[in-house]
């Protein structure tokens, strides 16, 4: 970032809640159905129908509030946001305006300099999603798919507390991780279950007053958010330095061109004419309900990280990776609890081989081809020195390919480690006999040739000789010879 400038960023996150039915109707929320088959009369805004609040959406909003140390409102109110659009069946969106269900939360993130930084969460409120317009394949017409209409959303609004794109991404990742830990959202950004708008402004360093902000939309991956914000920062600074002014507007991020562009401007400013929805009673939440939810909160990422470090002796950077998702951490803990191998070794395997294989096949941890118990079987063979780490990788690949358990594969392929000293001695002797020249060179002081002999012995043993024993025996025999 350019010296002499300070960046101010606030995020609005739209998080789709993982309820089975919609926020005000009984229709399903499943993704990807044929257009308009998952829209009931309430979602279609038919004359005479009325909304009925889904209690599960309330529970999920409260869980989020508790996870970010927020206040859960004892009384919150649904309001109508009025505007006309074809994908908005009633001509208004039911949202919360003056009295949101969650307010005054916070989130600690690690800044670029490694220090903890507090990001305020102004509010989180419940609302219904709109449908979507479809333009492809309809010629001059626009189609409307109302399957998504009425899907519950939690809109999470931060304070303008972030000072760089990196901080914004860190904060967003943390919120993403928390909603998934809580099981209140699948967080799927491609399907639009987790979307983000960013309010960005710049000001000369030291200035108190905020600069004019722009709102960036269409940020549907962590990478794009980082790029869009950085583009926008540079654009705003450039504009001001050239004597221009930032215009308050909504801008869309174009990932292909890596730039932000103003959205087609509406003829006039929108006046949403919010007022309390008379079809819905205020949501009243009893302290006992909140207390019960508090007791049901799962372990959250920060706490889990601390525990993984102390309980398993993991390095902070490894623990950080493992808490990336609740499922990954659960896998690790299940593995560490089953295997005889030390926990840090288990962590290495989860972060290394397993993650690489999952990535390669584009699978998530729940759909990997090697379960924790099976991987434990493999690690057990490493720790009892039946196989070396190198052979273990070969076994892992065979397991991944579905060739059987670690023990079956080791037996079938004859991969068991050679730990019989006499057998290793024999191989060493054979190697030495076969390489008199190298022995002479080694004797004359070419110590580096030791590695050559190790390699030859390992090769002769098909990689199965225990490397430590090989080292030990080779050293002894070579020095005898010298």
């Amino acid at each position: 970032m350019k010296a002499g400038w300070e960046v101010v960023i606030g995020l609005e996150i739209h998080c789709q809640l993982a309820t089975r039915s919609k926020i005000f109707s009984g229709a399903s929320t499943a993704y990807g159905a044929t257009p308009n088959v998952q829209a009931c009369l309430v979602d279609l805004g038919y004359p005479g129908v009325l909304p009925v609040l889904n209690g599960e959406a309330v529970r999920m909003a409260c869980l989020f509030g508790l996870a970010v140390n927020a206040t859960i409102a004892t009384r919150s109110v649904f309001a109508r946001k009025n505007y006309f659009y074809p994908d908005l069946p009633k001509g208004y969106q039911i949202s919360q305006y003056e009295l949101p269900i969650v307010a005054n939360g916070e989130m600690m993130i690690r800044g670029e300099d490694g220090t903890e930084k507090r990001i305020g969460i102004t509010r989180a409120h419940l609302e219904e999603d709109a449908g979507k317009s479809i333009h492809e394949g309809l010629g001059q017409y626009t189609g409307v798919d109302l399957n998504r209409a009425g899907t519950p959303l939690l809109e999470i609004v931060s304070e303008p507390d972030m000072r760089s794109a990196a901080q914004a991404v860190t904060y967003l990742r943390k919120i993403h991780s928390i909603v998934r830990y809580l099981g209140i959202s699948d967080g799927n950004m491609q399907e639009g279950s987790f979307r983000c708008d960013a309010n960005v402004s710049v000001r000369p360093a030291g200035q108190k007053a905020l600069g004019t902000r722009t709102e960036l939309k269409n940020l549907n991956s962590f990478r794009f958010i980082d790029k869009a914000i950085n583009f926008e920062i540079a654009r705003q600074i450039g504009l001001i330095e050239d004597g221009g002014q930032v215009v308050q507007e909504t801008r869309l991020y174009d990932a292909e061109r890596d730039e932000t562009r103003p959205m087609r401007s509406k003829e006039e400013a929108n006046d949403y004419r919010y007022f309390p929805d008379p079809d819905l009673l205020p949501v009243e939440i009893a302290p006992a309900y909140v207390q019960k939810l508090r007791e049901s909160l799962p372990e959250l990422p920060d706490a889990k990280k601390t525990r993984l470090q102390s309980q398993y002796g993991l390095r902070p950077e490894d623990a950080e990776i493992l808490i990336g998702s609740r499922e990954l951490a659960d896998y690790f803990e299940s593995l560490a609890g089953t295997t005889a191998a030390p926990a840090p070794l288990a962590a290495n395997w989860v972060i290394g081989e397993l993650s690489a294989a999952l990535n390669r096949d584009n699978l998530d941890i729940g759909h990997g081809k090697i379960g924790a118990a099976e991987l434990a079987g493999l690690l057990n063979r490493i720790s009892d020195r039946s196989i070396s780490g190198k052979i273990a990788k070969e076994v892992f690949e065979a397991m991944w390919a579905g060739e059987g358990s670690a023990d079956q594969i080791i037996r079938k392929k004859g991969l068991i480690q050679i730990t019989d000293s006499a057998a290793i001695e024999a191989i060493v002797r054979a190697v030495m006999d076969a390489h008199p020249t190298q022995i002479a060179d080694y004797r004359s002081g070419k110590d580096k040739l030791f590695g050559f002999f190790v390699g030859q012995v390992m090769k002769q043993s098909g990689g199965r000789a225990n490397p430590e024993q090989v080292n030990e025996i080779l050293k002894k025999r070579l020095s005898d010879a010298r």
Binding site: Y46, G48, L50, P51, F84, K90, R273, P278, D279
Partner: protein
């Protein structure tokens, strides 16, 4: 055997029920007789938008077959009609608007469903002010309804078709809705009984919304006894309406026997101000002395903010309607302008051509009062005054059981007399609007005539005091015969 030869239309719903139960009359005969009146008198009065003759006759035949069945409902084989803003599957629901001229709802309103389940047979859907916005039935796209007492006059509104149909002895009972007096005022102007229950007493599911915080379904009948019978079936919690209240429904019919003696009745000073027609005032005072002579105790009470109820209503109701009617955009159902140039043209022309003048006036008023910069001065202020009005009633009901007074300031007025002056029209609801703003139950009972035109006595009760209102109205009807007088044209 009363049956074939007798004119059954003069019977009350309760008497018809008795006749069907005893086998003295058949549903088919009754339904056929009433359908004949629908096509003659109903057409003359323009009281109906849709008539469901075939399904009604089929249902009546089925009802007669099942007469001995143990599962017979309380309304077995009894013909009724619905105001045309209750959604009915298979029959269009127009709301008196061009916007919904051809709209057929895919589902039944809870009210329709409950009455049908009790055995009622629907003969048709009644005419009404467009989207229930009006006090004279003149805003209907299908033309005004005529008052059976004088066809040159309005029957009141917005449930004018329901009131006229009951007054003309076409049907014994009709559903209605009341947002600012739309059941009680037409009942008063046609000499019928009309009850608007407590807000939340009857489900609003399937009632096309006008002003959601004020709308409430009720019935128009000739007797309080019939109203009690119907309300007992319609009332009760409905999980599909979050504002419906889970409160036990008493046996209203059994409660009718409660005596007047000892009943504490509040008389509101402001009700008898200059705006009230002197003859109406005289009839109301006479009715009060009848109640007093039977042992009711009359006390004066004060509703200091009563004069603010009309202006308050005309902020709150349009605000809610401007939002409720946004769904009529020509996209999914209802009227759609032909060959729209673009989206904006589709919206503007579909709504411009689909809605009538009064609906547009209220949408514009409502949009204005909710707009940035005006919200506080209008909408918020109106909500505060609404609180004051509710508080006035709360204080009054700490002192009295019932508040009694006029339902409307004048008897029926000529069609066309007030159409050019919305404010005068709006003032017709001055006595009824308070109950809507406070969510209270109210009933209008015929209490005599001003000249040749009926006058209504309004009784308003505390929340969920329907039983008491019905009993008071019923006892009054035992002492008077106003409800038995019928318009000459409707013998």
């Amino acid at each position: 055997m009363v049956g074939q030869s007798t004119n059954l239309h003069g019977l009350t719903l309760t008497a018809m029920a008795r006749g069907i139960a005893s086998g003295d009359i058949t549903s088919a005969d009754l339904t056929a007789q009433l359908l004949r009146r629908v096509s003659t008198l109903g057409s003359e009065l323009n009281a109906f938008i849709s008539v469901t003759e075939d399904t009604a006759m089929a249902a009546a035949a089925l009802a007669d077959k099942a007469r001995g069945s143990a599962r017979r409902g309380k309304l077995h084989g009894l013909p009724i009609v619905h105001k045309d803003l209750f959604c009915t599957r298979g029959v269009r629901t127009t709301c008196g608007s061009r916007m919904l001229e051809n709209f057929v709802s895919p589902y039944d309103a809870t009210v329709v469903e409950r009455l049908a389940r009790a055995g009622a047979i629907t003969l048709g859907k009644t005419n009404m002010d467009e989207f229930a916005m009006g006090s004279s039935n003149e805003t209907s796209y299908f033309g005004p309804v005529r008052n059976p007492w004088n066809p040159a006059l309005s029957p009141g509104g917005s449930s004018g078709g329901s009131a006229a149909a009951v007054a003309a002895r076409i049907v014994p009972a009709a559903t209605g809705t009341d947002t600012g007096g739309s059941i009680r005022q037409p009942a008063a102007l046609t000499g019928t009984v009309g009850i608007k229950p407590t807000y939340g007493r009857v489900s609003r599911y399937g009632m096309v919304a006008f002003a959601s915080s004020l709308d409430q379904a009720g019935v128009i009948t000739r007797t309080a006894e019939d109203a009690a019978l119907l309300l007992g079936i319609m009332a009760g919690f409905d999980s599909r309406d979050s504002t419906s209240v889970d409160h036990p429904v008493p046996d209203y019919v059994a409660g009718l026997a409660a005596p007047l003696s000892g009943l504490s009745i509040g008389i509101v000073r402001q009700h008898f101000d200059a705006g009230l027609d002197p003859e109406c005032a005289a009839r109301v005072r006479e009715a009060l002395s009848v109640l007093k002579s039977e042992g009711a105790v009359l006390t004066e009470v004060d509703l200091p903010h009563l004069d603010l109820s009309v202006p308050t209503y005309y902020v709150v109701a349009p605000a809610e309607c401007s939002s409720n009617l946004s769904r009529f955009d020509g996209v999914r159902f209802g009227y759609r302008a032909s060959d729209p140039r673009d989206l904006m043209d589709l919206y503007c022309r579909s709504r411009g051509e689909g809605f009538g003048a009064e609906v547009k006036r209220r949408i514009m008023t409502g949009t204005y009062v909710l707009s940035a910069g005006y919200f506080d001065a209008y909408y918020l202020q109106a909500q505060k005054v609404r609180q004051l009005i509710s508080e006035d009633f709360r204080k009054a009901f700490a002192k009295v059981d019932i508040i009694a007074g006029p339902t409307a300031p004048t008897p029926a007025f000529a069609l066309g007399a007030k159409t050019d002056d919305p404010i005068t029209m709006y003032l017709n609801d001055i006595y009824t609007i308070g109950a809507n703003l406070a969510g209270l139950p109210g009933i209008s009972v015929p209490c005599g005539f001003a000249g040749r035109l009926p006058v209504g006595l309004q009784l308003v009760g505390a929340h969920f005091a329907e039983e008491r209102l019905l009993a008071c109205a019923h006892q009054y009807q035992q002492l008077t015969d106003w409800h038995e007088r019928k318009p000459e044209s409707c013998a």
